[in-house]
């Protein structure tokens, strides 16, 4: 016979006012297996917990039911208290009689609440009777980390972890690390030059002995679980032997063919063998195979001829590298929503309508114009520039419903950069709201307006068209209630930040959640902002949602600190809420294997003495299993069960209903 203790909490008056806790305790006393019951003012208080421990010892309890607030509040508290009293923590179950009873059923006669509390407590008692002691699962840890994405968030995470003595693998799909931040000219609100603050970090990442860089590479496959992941990295063929190349630049000097530069966002051409930008890390070029005449047609080969160290290798193939790691930081960043979606703004058709990032390149001193702001169409200095905010963002019909967050600030910055470079120029900004929450942000916007004379117009733009070499902007100023028309020389669209096109595919490969746009879901948006539901995988930067550089950097650091604290332990402990297979009755139909969202189920063969497999059955990998129970419901022969939520326990609860 079990020896169960039932503790009914009054929660001051929170429960007591509508539930007669004494009566609940009294009624439970008669249930078989219950040896002690009581009602207490505050179970979660220190005296309450002390009393719990005392009673466990005094009555030699082998199970405890606490009828109190939601298990989401204090399950951990009470389980810990039980553990201290020598009881297996999983032999403590909580009944929620506050959030789901006393607070929602305001019957002052206490009849309703008492009745329901008794039902619920009885169900928990019956469930507890079937409950088994569980042991925390302990796992080894590979103390190496993988960072996916070499933008500022990823670089920061990698540096912080490397500083903490962890070996880090940094994977970047472009030929150089740096990400979108490398494209920016100056940064708000301090107006530091982006490259000036980023480049040292990039170099640091390259030189740090704890960081292994894989540029021009992508994560192909991820297996395993927290502490023990195996990743396969595809190292795309560079056609340049990295170990030989000195980065002298002779090859791209001499290469006779050109293609559009991705980094310069179609504002400039680059050579077919190239580094994305002069400060690239590593400073090793790649050959753009589809455009290379040598690779496509077997003619040319100039780069190979001029290469001193003979680093060019036209025969190079993609390479696959397997790495064992213990944690992953995902920092894949963002891209801009394609402006072509907005036909009324004429992007792509009118040359002088450009995106915000293109403007950054124009303003950047290392950009295609050397920092001169000119019209892409004729190279003339624009005397009137119209900036349109919220292009695609806050537009649930044609774009995305969310606010892209950084555009207000960078548009203000753009107007300043423009004014600083074209003194006689006039900037106009069409905005809906100015969102400048942040340290020194509002002051910055005001400076753009008051000091640098940007004309802010509150309203959207309906149409942009070309007329006599000018770009006509037809919008509204809702503050004056009128239609406005501006003859501009150039129009800059502050386009919405969206997740990378490949974001969803990667999320599925990693088993992490994502929202309808493809931004990755945090474990908890407020309290666990850099963790994901898949333990051991962390997030940083704009792959979570639009954010600016300071936020990205702090998230990179936050993710790094999460990994460091994970790696601080010798062994990992985790909740034992995992599935188990009753192997003799397994049909080996593999339904569970197909249904499992985590690929936590494997096939296992039983061998006879000769080593021939005579029978197959399913096996749960405890490290990977997250305890959702999809397999349990899928299993027809009921040979899988989920610890903590076993069929028997649920059945007992239903039966006590």
């Amino acid at each position: 016979m079990p020896r169960i203790g039932v503790f009914v909490c009054q929660c001051g008056n929170n429960i007591e006012s509508t539930v007669d806790t004494r009566k609940v305790a009294e009624e439970m006393k008669d249930l078989p297996g219950v040896v002690f019951t009581c009602s207490y003012k505050f179970m979660c208080s220190s005296p309450g917990q002390e009393m719990l421990k005392e009673m466990i010892k005094k009555h030699d309890l082998d199970g405890v039911v606490v009828s109190a607030c939601s298990p989401h509040m204090h399950e951990a508290t009470f389980r810990k208290a039980c553990e201290k009293a020598g009881l297996n923590p999983y032999r403590c179950e909580i009944t929620n009689i506050r959030e789901q009873c006393s607070w929602v059923h305001p019957d002052k006669t206490k009849k309703t609440g008492t009745l329901k509390s008794m039902d619920l407590t009885r169900m928990t008692i019956e469930r507890l009777k079937r409950n088994r002691p569980l042991k925390t699962i302990s796992m080894s840890v590979t103390r190496r980390a993988l960072v996916i994405g070499g933008g500022i968030a990823g670089i920061q995470a990698a540096l912080d972890m490397a500083e903490g003595g962890i070996e880090v693998i940094l994977v970047e799909k472009e030929p150089s690390i740096g990400g979108n931040m490398a494209r920016l000219s100056e940064t708000f609100p301090t107006m530091d030059c982006s490259q000036c603050i980023l480049t040292p970090k990039m170099v640091e990442a390259e030189l740090n002995e704890n960081i292994k860089l894989y540029t021009y590479s992508e994560v192909e496959k991820v297996d395993g679980y927290i502490g023990n992941f195996t990743v396969t990295i595809r190292k795309k063929a560079r056609y340049v032997k990295e170990e030989l190349c000195t980065g002298c630049g002779e090859c791209w000097e001499k290469c006779p063919y050109k293609a559009e530069s991705e980094f310069e966002m179609e504002l400039k051409e680059r050579k077919v063998i190239y580094t994305p930008f002069p400060q690239s890390v590593p400073n090793i070029p790649v050959i753009d195979a589809p455009d290379c005449v040598m690779i496509q047609k077997g003619k040319c080969g100039v780069c190979a001829k001029v290469c001193g160290p003979k680093a060019i290798d036209f025969e190079q193939k993609d390479e696959f590298i397997e790495e064992k790691i213990g944690a992953i930081v995902v920092a894949t960043g963002y891209e801009l929503m394609p402006n072509e979606r907005f036909g009324e703004y004429g992007y792509g058709k009118i040359k002088d309508v450009i995106s915000g990032l293109q403007f950054e390149r124009l303003a950047s001193s290392s950009g295609p114009t050397g920092g001169r702001i000119v019209r892409p169409s004729d190279g003339k200095e624009p005397e009137t520039v119209v900036f349109i905010q919220c292009v695609g963002s806050r537009d649930e019909k044609k774009g995305v419903a969310y606010c892209s967050k950084v555009c207000c600030m960078y548009t203000a910055k753009h107007t300043m950069l423009y004014k600083h470079k074209v003194h006689h120029g006039q900037a106009y900004v069409f905005y809906m709201d100015i969102r400048s929450g942040g340290k020194r942000y509002e002051e910055f916007v005001r400076r753009a307006i008051e000091h640098d004379g940007a004309m802010y117009l509150r309203g959207r733009v309906s149409r942009v068209y070309e007329k006599d070499g000018k770009v006509i902007v037809q919008g509204a100023d809702t503050l004056s209630g009128t239609q406005v028309e501006i003859e501009a020389d150039m129009v800059v669209l502050a386009t919405a930040m969206v997740p990378r096109g490949s974001a969803v595919e990667l999320a599925q490969r990693l088993g992490i959640g994502y929202d309808k746009y493809g931004f990755y879901n945090e474990y908890h948006p407020k309290l666990r902002p850099v963790e994901t539901v898949n333990a051991g995988i962390y997030l940083a930067g704009t792959c979570i949602g639009p954010m600016d550089i300071p936020d990205s950097v702090s998230m990179g650091s936050a993710a790094a600190s999460k990994v460091l604290s994970l790696f601080a332990k010798e062994k990992l402990a985790r909740e034992p809420i995992v599935a188990h297979v009753d192997t003799p009755v397994c049909n080996a139909c593999w339904d569970c294997l197909t249904a499992c969202p985590y690929k936590a189920i494997e096939k296992e063969g039983i061998r006879d003495r000769e080593g021939n497999i005579v029978r197959w059955h399913a096996k749960v990998n405890e490290g990977v299993c997250q305890g959702c129970g999809v397999c349990v419901a899928a299993c027809r022969s009921k040979c899988i069960d989920l610890a903590g939520y076993r069929d028997e326990e649920v059945f007992a609860a239903i039966n006590a209903f």
Binding site: V104, H105, K116, G513, P597, Y598, C628, V630, V650, F651
Partner: protein, 146 residues
């Protein structure tokens, strides 16, 4: 017992199978927001709707439930990424089957309630309680016991 239907003060018994992450938390929020709803529902917490076996529902009816509610995270919001999609598939078939054998559709409810949808939870419970009250006790099923 048998003619409870006509008895004054009969209250339906409703069993709710909910997932830990969304609906359970949504119901908690209704509590912390001090909203009020019908007291007829008894919640059984499970990690995920994907864990909910059709047998649970059958068992609940066998144990005298007048109605059953199954609820979890909205599609795309599953804590386990896809548990609710699996659940939805099962329900599509199970619901058709239960309809086909004559379990009144008013007795078996499915819903998505997120952790923030306390209002939806309250409305849902009130609505189904009302509906089941109209249907009366599930004597047909209970009658099978003999």
């Amino acid at each position: 017992m048998e003619d409870k239907k006509t008895e004054e003060g009969w209250e339906p018994k409703i069993m709710a199978f909910v997932c830990n992450w969304c609906t359970y938390a949504g119901a908690d929020l209704a509590g912390t927001s001090r909203m009020h709803y019908s007291p007829n529902v008894r919640i059984v917490k499970l990690p995920c709707t994907g864990r909910i076996d059709p047998l649970f529902v059958i068992k609940a009816f066998e144990n005298g439930a007048d109605g059953v509610l199954v609820s979890g995270c909205h599609p795309g919001d599953c804590h386990y990424t896809s548990g609710n999609y699996h659940a939805r598939r099962r329900w599509i078939v199970f619901k058709s089957l239960m309809d086909f054998v004559g379990i009144h559709p008013g007795r078996l409810h499915f819903s998505w309630v997120s952790a923030s949808e306390a209002i939806k939870w309250v409305d849902l419970i009130d609505r189904i309680t009302e509906e089941i009250k109209k249907l009366g006790p599930f004597m047909e099923y209970r009658g099978l016991k003999k």
